[in-house]
Symmetry: C2
């Protein structure tokens, strides 16, 4: 049992990441923004305090958790307001307090969470679980209701490591960074490194089906979970007596991705692996994205499967790479990052090199690979100074089967270009593949344009166009960002009203008074 608080990065509300690592835009970037018509927006506005929760509710919560674990001051509540999508950041800058919790509570155990949910359900008080706070899909902003944010940071223990079964029982409030540090002391790793790694937590990973940059080698987070404990207003559910079972539906997979609407995951049992001692990250150049895609598909289907496998399209390759040598093979190239970790790294790397070469790839060495690896959590830091300058910058993602990917990529790109150009702000759209499977892969888009006078509405329109394009091209509305409120309508369309009704029925059993994340993931019944 180790306290992990010391290992936590303190996120600044409204700006991404560790304040010690703030990024300034290079002069060339500032110059480029001018060509997009970017202009400095109006100054920021401080939030005004709004009514907190009733003293009656506060008193009940204080009685349950202790006075020091219930906070209603403006700073704490503002720091728990929304997540890190661009609309979230823009609303933060505008001092918009509409989604601010009425109180923030800090339960210290599963029993605390269970008691809290029972009490809030009895009193009809809405509850939003808050772990890392890194949602980019409106997962922390229930609509049209006052609510209490349940900050899980005190559920911060690595409870057990079973070295024979290679599993670890970890509480929901443990940050990804802290989990890795705690496991490293024992020689293990989860291998889960999403872009939100510095801020996100184990409970959030589970509730949102997170997928890390090393998903090819270590799997998605939902593939790491072999057991979980869920607190609900109706009681506790514990699942996972074996890695796999034929005892009915896999109910773990019903809880994973439920985004706090069915209960609060208080701990998970995770598959762990020995920390790798070998590593190799290499850049590979392809003449085109399509050529690179075929090469990635071959590795995903016939192996050897790298630990990290990514491919930037021509536009992203051109923008991201300062090193012109990467494009020495000619203009219009697409850069892949092929990373191996763990046993037999040199052998697997050599085998992959054969496949990639035969597929038309050209090694550009470990330089670009290491550059990517070392800078892999830096991208989100760029967004804040870009917003400062008046740029609109946001990402969105999808996934599909291999045969659908080229059309899916074209459709989403066209929708974004068309919508933003139609609003007078022609964008740059970049795309990469960052998660591969035997049958398909993810597509991740980055969009950059000038802001209009109402950038939140501007993005809403572009995002709606992209979401429609995804649906029409047969992709899923999200591969790893989750649903939240932003994707809710698209999610309903994707799985259909009957499946949604089934989920609502589950919610009715576990959360009969509808206090858990109302309006997130699924519409109220």
């Amino acid at each position: 049992m180790t306290e992990s608080d010391l290992l936590v990065v303190n996120l600044t509300p409204g700006r991404w990441g560790d304040p010690a690592q703030v990024v300034e835009l290079p002069a060339a970037a500032l110059e480029a923004l001018k060509h997009l018509g970017v202009r400095r927006p109006r100054a920021k506005t401080a939030p005004k305090d709004e009514a907190g929760t009733s003293t009656e509710v506060t008193a009940a919560l204080e009685k349950l958790l202790g006075t020091e674990h219930v906070k209603t001051d403006l700073d704490t509540r503002w720091a728990h307001t929304r997540g890190y999508s661009t609309p979230d950041l823009l609303r933060h800058r505008a001092g918009d307090t509409t989604d601010m919790p009425a109180a923030v509570v800090y339960p210290g155990s599963h029993d605390d969470v269970q008691a809290l949910l029972t009490a809030c359900s009895e009193q009809g008080v809405a509850v939003v679980p808050y772990a890392g706070g890194t949602s980019v899909v409106g997962g922390l902003a229930p609509q049209g209701t006052q609510f209490v944010a349940v900050d899980l940071q005190r559920l911060n223990r690595l409870r057990e490591v079973d070295e024979v079964s290679r599993t670890a029982t970890i509480e929901a409030g443990v940050r990804g960074t802290a989990a890795e540090a705690l496991l490293a002391e024992r020689g293990y790793t989860l291998g889960h490194f999403p872009q939100s790694y510095e801020g996100a937590s184990i409970g959030g990973y589970a509730a949102t089906r997170s997928s890390g940059q090393a998903s090819a080698g270590y799997g998605r987070f939902d593939q790491m979970v072999v057991g979980l404990t869920l607190a609900t207003p109706s009681g506790t559910i514990e699942l996972g007596r074996a890695p796999m079972s034929a005892a009915g539906p896999d109910l773990r997979q019903l809880v994973l991705g439920s985004e706090g609407t069915l209960g609060i995951i208080t701990s998970v049992v995770l598959r762990i692996r020995p920390r790798p001692t070998e590593r190799s990250f290499e850049g590979w150049r392809f003449d085109s994205f399509d050529q690179g895609l075929a090469a990635l598909r071959q590795l995903a289907q016939d192996g050897p499967l790298p630990t990290v496998l990514r491919l930037s399209d021509e536009a992203e390759t051109a923008i991201n790479l300062a090193d012109p040598n990467v494009l020495a093979g000619g203009p219009g190239g697409a850069l892949a990052i092929v990373g191996f970790e763990g046993p037999r790294t040199p052998v697997r790397r050599a085998e992959a090199a054969e496949v990639l070469t035969a597929a038309g790839g050209q090694s550009v060495g470990e330089g670009p690979g290491e550059t990517w690896r070392q800078g892999r959590y830096r991208a989100p830091y760029l967004r804040d100074p870009l917003l400062d300058e008046g740029a609109l910058v946001e990402t969105l993602e999808t996934a599909g089967f291999w045969s659908t990917l080229p059309a899916l990529k074209a459709a989403v790109t066209d929708a974004l270009v068309s919508s933003l150009s139609g609003q007078g702000t022609p964008p740059v759209v970049l795309c990469h593949i960052s998660h591969v499977y035997e049958t398909g892969a993810s597509l991740y888009f980055t969009v950059l344009s000038a802001q209009t006078d109402d950038p939140v509405a501007q993005w809403r329109q572009a995002k709606a166009a992209a979401s429609q394009a995804i649906a029409a091209a047969g992709g899923t509305i999200t591969h790893h960002h989750a649903v939240g409120t932003d994707h809710r309508d698209a999610y309903v369309t994707e799985v259909g009203p009957l499946a949604i009704e089934a989920l609502q029925a589950v919610k009715q059993v576990l959360d009969p008074n509808g206090i858990l994340n109302p309006g997130i993931l699924i519409p109220a019944r």
Copy 2:
């Protein structure tokens, strides 16, 4: 689109498998049975006809499907009565018609199934989906209700192969053997080879979370399903727009394992792989089961992972092996089968050999490996002649995490020995591991004893003792046989009443009149 009827093995009701492959017990086995006190049971009884379904219901079904696709004759109904558990076979021999369907219908398409369910729901007629009919857990015997069996054999098409994404869309009624033959024409395989392979179908695999003998290499069936179509009395649900998604809970995993209680799966989209051109199956001897278990764990956790990986305990090794050379290393040994298929077979085999040797294993060559491979569907054929002689023979299985397996194995063995010895019929109990994961494995038990005068009650008592032992030792009640009616109470205990209530709520939405497999998997609400 290819008809696959020709490839289907015609199962004999009440006896396992292809009648052309009937097995006779060797003289030594007959001698051994005497030591267990086995005596010939009473003669079989033919079934007597009971009332079929009402002419009103029959007329409605005939109107929907055509007269030729609705059958009420005794032979057809008797052939659709129960599955292949030992109690099922014993009841069959006794001519017990209590679980016989009132009619058997043969829909020809998803739309037929959808219309049928709508009609039966309106009329309150219970419906049992019947695909391969190979349940060994009472999955075809809803309790206390008249019902119509829905035989899916006309849903027999391989609808689409996407060679880029490596997926195949296959209808639910296609037998495993037929699916493999159809895919082989295109150069592909599912790699799903359960013990029930000769009889079971794609829809049954999906509804019960089947796991095949090559699960280490090809995965479980639930890991092969990337999409599915479900007909329910409330309408159709289609799932699976990408290999993986963060759009809410993975609802595919809610349908898989639902055992016909939430709807009828009419087709699935499955991950396929190229047919392997290389193969090597090798036997390995370990001094003890525990030593072999440690070796299997090492391959499962650190690789190279074989395609097939099995380990018989000392008792099973001694009984199954005619070849005394296998035990040349000394008495009390445990035999493992280590099979590789596909690319790099010789290299992977050599790497595995290093691991196995270091773990104390001794290669006994390809002889035992090939013997196992060629005889791998033969074991169930032995049961019928054993029952003929008056032996009680049955299997049961569980799974757990690696650290729990030794105690789990001991607890189940003790429970079976204690229960059957207490009934005056001391058993032989054999065990093997046949499915491995990074964090755990399955345990499969075979039990052999003399029958008492009431062998169904005799087994019920032994099974209850084993089930309690599994629960107490933390295992799951079934790794790949599914729940049916036999495991229902244990399943409720395993996931808890709140999870069951959530499933019942889903069922209420999809099957509001409770016509689908009533009493199977979950108790009526």
